[in-house]
Symmetry: C3
Subunit: 307 residues, 3 copies
């Protein structure tokens, strides 16, 4: 199949075929980063702008490396140095950037739906690198890529997502993605972090970690977003760690070949202990590595599509 | 004619021939940004430093994209992350950067004349990307390019500049530029924003917007620079908007083929309404697009000159 | 000889042969920056990350220019925009970056030993661009390169280092470097800025500037690090300038062909007067120029080593 979309805005709207096309394309790009000369000329002469209104190392760096390994030119704009301090609207910032004829604008914004607004007004491709508590589609794609790599399949798995489901765009994108492939998804966290709509997505809720983890194929720990008020939903980090922090003794409740995932950055000792984060079941650094390959694939597909 | 200058410091010192050479060169570069591979090898192996002591998205990005499309290497330095916090003088910062053998230093600084100081002590080419309330020459050049593109000529036009003339480097550079080609320039704004020297530049002043706009070929709205204390010269933004904000009903006072310009970023609802900014007479996004072509031309001319 | 080290962490561990290899390699790279096309394809397809937890113009820019002139891709990460604000540990930040398969991570950190920690856990090459008050090896190498260039030798010289020896990584790296080649090193400063261990390094201490400078071949003034509390060790900047600031009359105490060095950024009028900084004996800007060549050499040696 061919890729037809101009933008990557959310997992929810993607078909299984589109998701598989991204994964297969990423597979072929993963090898590039292992070469001695880590660069292919595919996107030479293309201009890719990262427009980040929230701080980020990993995601911005991952996109920038992906773009450079495809030989594209990259321009980084972060909110603190941008015209945003001059009170320009997001729409005007976007239209101005578009007038400089970039090929792709990668946007992270605290407002859910911001990438969708850009998508409608821009001819450039728009990639959602995280919008509020809504979606973070490349994270879900790299997570699925990692699951396929480690488990050999992406169907009929039991995936347990632990943490602040209500405010996590990573959780939402993963739920949409995993349910498209018929996986069992269980969400687990304190009641204040469980949104009311989960049953409509076919997701089961467990408030007790030990019950949730039973026979899990995949465990995803979410980050407590201290910098975004995440602690206001729980009595204390210590209490959260006690009841929902992933510890070594939890592993034995899951399947023998369980994998442990975390989107990073980790709060060690809160949502995950060192033993689990650095242990044999952890695929956390594989996620980061695969992120570059998946983002190369997305850039390639968006820019190489039939126009 | 050949370009002979090492630096681009101000419009005031340029001849008509030099200005036309920039415009003609920009014409040929505009096409590069519309190609599938937006890149020419012209400045491969050249190093271009952007040294910004004031925040900017548009101008820094425009220079960076221009440089990259010419295959130059770019280095961005912004005041907040630079040695400036360590109390180094501007002269020492510049001499240190020069020792790393860059070809061009693009500087924005709140001090009028800062680029001229650098020009005298550096062998590298210096481009003024805005110095205090003094000049912003590439803005005037891209504005003139846009006028030529839209009106087919750059002479004998009536150009009305509306806003804070006294504190605007954009206004000053445009006045110098437009007067060189024998245009009628009318400045309009509240008395607190009109500098005393305008008549010496051959510029007429009107305090009433409706009178100023009569038969205008070009209307340039300036930005109220809220972040630089611009509001302290007016009773309120609301009052400014009432008397000097460009509204739809003003268009009919001008010529039928009037064009509306704004250097951005816009304060919508203050100096310009949405209807005008987004209406059929607006060429605001053309200005941004042409900015890349004009900056490619400047970089090309400065580095390709007879030495 | 061949370069065998994965990392450049400190001068202390380098052999004389290794140091000479860096200097000779830098010699051949210095010419690249003087070409019309300042670029060689040596490191095409390599990814170099600068990870700076302290502000810097000169060092970060020098590394970035060095990398680009070798055709490597560069990614800049500064602490203020990074995940550090999200509370991630240095180790996790490093492991995450490593998962994106960079070839080199250049790190500056306020914690002495931070690069050594990274070195142990990463396969990527690590370059110490300054760690707390510990070492700044590329500074010492570019200083030695400059001394060799100006004096024709790097042995049997009298080198006087003036200033806050106790808190200066530049001083420490230079002491280790200069002593390896059998130079006489004299440290001079107020007692509060002289560490107790200098005699164990074979360094002589003088508290009186005039005595210290007698027959010096090289004088290095250190920077008073105002932004890092440097003034808390002295009664006042004025008093420091009176007793330890380098002035024109000091030059005649040294050898006729003395050279004056400063790692920058300078506090003019404090540790050095304008007359000395800009005078005929000053090689301060040569140091900056040579910094690019030395960093090109380091990147080349680390990435081209036998693996």
């Amino acid at each position: 199949m061919d890729w037809r979309r101009k933008d990557l805005l959310e997992i929810r709207e993607l078909s299984r075929e589109e998701i598989l096309l991204v994964l297969d394309t990423a597979e072929s790009f993963k090898e590039v980063s292992k070469r001695d000369i880590k660069k292919v000329p595919t996107l030479r002469g293309k201009t890719i702008i990262t427009l980040f209104f929230e701080p980020s190392t990993r995601t911005r760096t991952s996109f920038e490396i992906a773009a450079k390994r495809l030989s594209a030119d990259t321009i980084n704009i972060s909110a603190t140095t941008s015209s945003v301090v001059k009170g320009e609207t997001l729409k005007d910032t976007a239209l101005n950037l578009e007038s400089m004829q970039p090929d792709v604008i990668v946007i992270r914004h605290s407002l859910a739906g911001a990438p969708h607004i850009l998508s409608k007004i821009l001819n450039s491709s728009v990639i959602n690198a995280g919008d509020g508590s809504h979606e973070h589609p490349t994270q879900a794609l790299l997570d699925l890529f990692t699951i396929r790599e480690k488990k050999g399949k992406i169907e009929n798995l039991k995936v347990v997502i632990v943490g602040d489901i209500a405010h996590s765009r990573v959780a939402r994108s993963n739920i949409f993605c995993l349910k498209k492939f018929g996986n069992e998804v269980v969400c687990c966290g304190p009641p204040s972090m469980i949104p009311p709509y989960l049953d409509t997505l076919g997701v089961r809720v467990e408030y007790k970690l030990e019950s949730a983890l039973k026979d899990a194929d995949v465990i995803m720990a979410l980050r407590i977003q201290k910098e975004r008020g995440g602690v206001s939903f729980i009595p204390s980090l210590k209490e959260y760690a006690t009841f929902y922090g992933l510890k070594k003794e939890h592993i034995s409740l899951a399947k023998d070949d369980v994998i442990i995932m975390h989107p990073g950055p980790m709060n060690r000792g809160v949502e995950i202990t060192d033993e689990v984060a650095d242990g044999p079941y952890s695929v956390i650094l594989d996620q980061v590595e695969n992120g570059v390959a998946v983002r190369m694939a997305i850039l390639y597909l968006l820019l190489g599509r039939e126009q």
